[in-house]
Symmetry: C2
Subunit: 337 residues, 2 copies
């Protein structure tokens, strides 16, 4: 049986392009004992993949050249030589950018069966998956919001940001999003229940954004979930209350290599701020607790999400490049079957 897959063909210098990827067709090997063959329904595209394309020092191993691009996947078991899985099971894994994956199911955490009676399969790549848990960990472990506090989140309509805002609302906070474009902003307020959302494409990332944030967060900002970095961070920092907390989850604007300075780090002292970076995969002990809350909230309609779905594996590179430019609206997926 044939398997289409996308490998990293070359490392980007600066902005990545579709030329960094290569679509291949290979023969699937026969299953060994303990292995499971999974047909992928959806592939998840996430900003962290940009970091993996580099060779430099980062928190994770670089993606090897000529190997299948890393990525979260959901799908259905086609064939199993592991007693814990049977054909037809719906599963979540890290199958990568390919139609099928042969998974060593005996490896802990490699493959997890999921219930699709109350939660759509694709949600396990978003609100009830890595992005949802990322939101949960940064919010509950670093920002630790109290009812009545104001929480700001950038990339607010994205998979992580939209969960951050709704989790903070569920904890009684005032929530202000920052997003690019009037549609994304309207969505966070009208659909997700955010109290306000600022369109940085209309406001810029300077004085106007600062004044708009002052109006949207009249009591100041107590927690900031940072998905972007750069000039927006400077504006939010200048509005932080004493003892404010900033969870550093993403620095998209810096992924292409140019370091973006922080304008006024003295605010860390003046406002007694706590800034902390984290990676969700280093907090595995918290995943069950997080997934329980996220799953319940999705099943009961309390946690909403939106998906951008590209069609077919060949569309993955363009969809990924669009994600890095903020062209997606909600969780970016690729439909594979």
């Amino acid at each position: 049986m044939n398997n289409q897959r996308i490998v990293l063909a070359s490392r980007p210098t600066g902005e990545p392009s579709s030329a960094n990827f290569r679509l291949e067709t290979v023969e699937l090997p026969a299953l060994q004992d303990q292995q499971v063959l999974v047909r992928h329904h959806y592939l998840s595209l996430d900003p962290y993949m940009r970091g993996r394309m580099n060779d430099g020092k980062s928190y994770a191993q670089p993606q090897p050249l000529d190997a299948v691009m890393i990525g979260g996947t959901v799908g259905e078991v086609v064939e199993s030589r592991h007693p814990g899985f049977a054909a037809g099971d719906k599963v979540v894994g890290m199958g990568g950018w390919q139609q099928f994956a042969v998974v060593d199911a005996a490896q802990p955490g490699a493959l997890r069966k999921v219930d699709t009676a109350h939660i759509p399969l694709s949600a396990y790549l978003g609100a009830v998956g890595m992005p949802g848990v990322t939101a949960w960990v940064g919010l509950t472990q670093i920002i630790e919001p109290k009812a009545g506090e104001t929480v700001v989140v950038s990339a607010a309509s994205g998979a992580v940001g939209s969960a951050v805002g709704q989790l903070a609302k569920a904890r009684g906070c005032r929530v202000v999003g920052i997003a690019g474009g009037p549609d994304k902003c309207a969505y966070t307020v009208d659909e997700l229940g955010f109290d306000a959302c600022l369109d940085y494409k209309a406001l810029g990332s300077g004085k106007e954004l600062s004044l708009a944030l002052k109006a949207a967060a009249p009591q100041g900002v107590d927690g900031y979930f940072e998905n972007v970095g750069g000039a927006i961070l400077d504006v939010v920092m200048s509005r932080m209350n004493a003892f404010g907390r900033i969870a550093f989850c993403g620095m998209i604007s810096g992924y292409n290599g140019e370091p973006i300075p922080m304008a006024n780090p003295a605010l860390i002292l003046v406002s007694r701020l706590k800034l902390q970076g984290f990676i969700v995969s280093e907090h595995m002990a918290l995943w069950p607790q997080a997934l329980k809350e996220l799953g319940t909230m999705v099943a009961t309609g309390q946690l909403k999400y939106r998906e951008s779905v590209a069609d077919g594996l060949a569309a993955a590179p363009e969809a990924f490049l669009g994600l890095l430019k903020g062209r997606n609206f909600g969780k970016q997926l690729v439909k594979l079957a």
Copy 2:
């Protein structure tokens, strides 16, 4: 009885000068009930005073114009109308830049009797006072060092920095200081027991300092006690290990108004750092525990310190300006009696 005092005559624009201060002689009022008259032996000069001279937003109220400059003092009770104090008692307070203070002793924390049998009176303004507690709080509450970790401290020969290093050594850490000049560096290694010290005046604050830090901290940096800010922070951040902690205690180089950017805040995410600012006066509950350890260490000779003593109240402004330029060597005091 006459009292000499120094008031803030004007606010500095940029670098302060002696023209911002004015020496006055005033008559001491008669004591009211519950009041105590203290004759100051030593006045403490500290970097935080520079921040108080500004009118802008900071963590503390600005020092009012034409009022006695704020400052910690130790001295001896001359006359008391409070039952808890008697003439001859040695006391610590916030008497300010003046020879005598009339203190409302009923106000909690306004005046504290101290034991000078085992600890010299002046130490209550340094190692067993606010600077020592500052070191203790930042180290134990934010850096939380484990034995075997590497801790770096800037302004290493100063009142706070020297205590940070010795407290970290007592906890089994490798300690690297950063200080200005060969004498200060030699002192931290030869007298205080630091493992290494880097002279930023000789090395600069760029590539050379970075290489020297790499050599002095071959296992990387786990904790950094930040007393300075600016380019040195950038160098240390680039050498931080994953899950490193930075306690922001001072940003001397930014006190004159120019914000100094942080070159690469993406390191907060890449290295999962925690950066946290603190002010020792907001952690009053920890003072007894901190003072107990500091007092024991001073009394047993385990915590050493050095003092720069200016003679007479009139010398205070120049001594203070020198402190801001790093001209002092150890805790800066003014001897008043």
